[in-house]
């Protein structure tokens, strides 16, 4: 994966498969602590302590199509190689919280990349799931949620291509405003 936003898209698919109805994604750039913190929280089926212990192992997967599961190991590696941290908290029946911390200015930190595409796909292609996305830079933040969008849309589906195009632009412009255009 060349961008952290691709890892986020990938990890969020686990939440989708866990039958979550609410998925909250946050990306916080904290220049004062020189940290970038990414969290993906869901209310899906959760995992047993044993599954949590296994999930960071590339040779563990719940799929039957093949024998490797690389999503979580990729994300963990991306965090650890920048002097960061990685943790998964999960409870069966309650949900899962994935948290990755990166050295914000570390030379090996991959760029966040196209987060607007990631959120546009997640929100547009999973109409039955409520998503929220918060992007924070220092003290300032931008938040968008499917509930907020559906209220305006009043029955027009989020997966209408024209609506997804709007969403992509809306998220990108608001993020650029906070980050100064460089992600």
């Amino acid at each position: 994966m060349e961008e952290l936003s691709l890892n986020i898209l990938d990890i969020a698919q686990n939440s989708v498969r866990a039958n979550a109805t609410q998925i909250d994604i946050t990306v916080a750039e904290l220049p004062e602590q020189d940290r970038l913190v990414i969290t993906i929280a869901d209310n899906g089926c959760g995992m047993t302590p044993e599954q949590v212990a296994h999930v960071e192992d590339p040779f563990y997967t719940t799929r039957t199509t093949r024998k490797v599961g690389l999503g979580v190991p990729f994300f963990k590696m991306a965090a650890l190689m920048t002097g960061g941290d990685f943790s998964i908290q999960s409870q069966v029946g309650k949900g899962t919280l994935v948290k990755a911390t990166f050295g914000l200015t570390h030379i090996d930190r991959m760029p966040l990349g196209n987060m607007a595409d990631t959120m546009c796909i997640l929100m547009g292609c999973n109409e039955q799931i409520h998503f929220s996305f918060t992007y924070q830079v220092g003290e300032k933040s931008f938040c968008v949620s499917t509930e907020q969008l559906q209220q305006v849309l009043d029955g027009v589906p989020l997966n209408t291509p024209q609506v997804m195009e709007f969403l992509r632009g809306y998220i990108k412009e608001n993020m650029d405003l906070l980050s100064g255009g460089a992600s």
């Binding site: 698919q13 796909i121 997804m164």
Partner: protein, 123 residues
């Protein structure tokens, strides 16, 4: 600067077409594989190219969706096109440029882009 007020205007322009979109026979479903294998191979820009082109051409009868691992990871990005009454078409090793051609040739004009399909590729 895009605002939610703009979304409201978009909603009003779409609203009268919704009924048509849902019931229309010939509603085409485009499904992009979006698991680790697909994402790493470049599925996200492919899906984005589909929504962009469909939106640009203002097509009303196309739904774009994602799915998990289809099971042929070495062919990712994989895109499946479902049309009522027709056999499923599976496109493999897709790029955003190929996606634009699939929208124009297949979705708009009904001509399957045979050279992009799984049957045409040998590995």
């Amino acid at each position: 600067m895009k605002s939610l007020a703009e979304l409201q205007a978009l909603r009003d322009s779409m609203k009268d077409k919704i009924g048509v979109r849902d019931d229309a026979e010939g509603n085409i479903r485009v499904v992009v594989g979006m698991a680790t294998c697909g994402i790493a191979a470049g599925a996200r820009p492919v899906l984005a190219a589909f929504t962009e082109e469909v939106s640009k051409r203002n097509l009303q009868n196309v739904t774009i969706a994602q799915t998990g691992c289809i099971g042929i990871c070495q062919y990712e990005p994989v895109v499946e096109v479902y049309e009522p009454g027709k056999e499923k078409v599976t496109y493999v090793k897709m790029t955003p440029e190929m996606a634009v051609k699939v929208v124009n040739d297949h979705l708009v004009n009904g001509n399957v882009v045979t050279e992009y399909t799984i049957g045409a590729k040998t590995l």
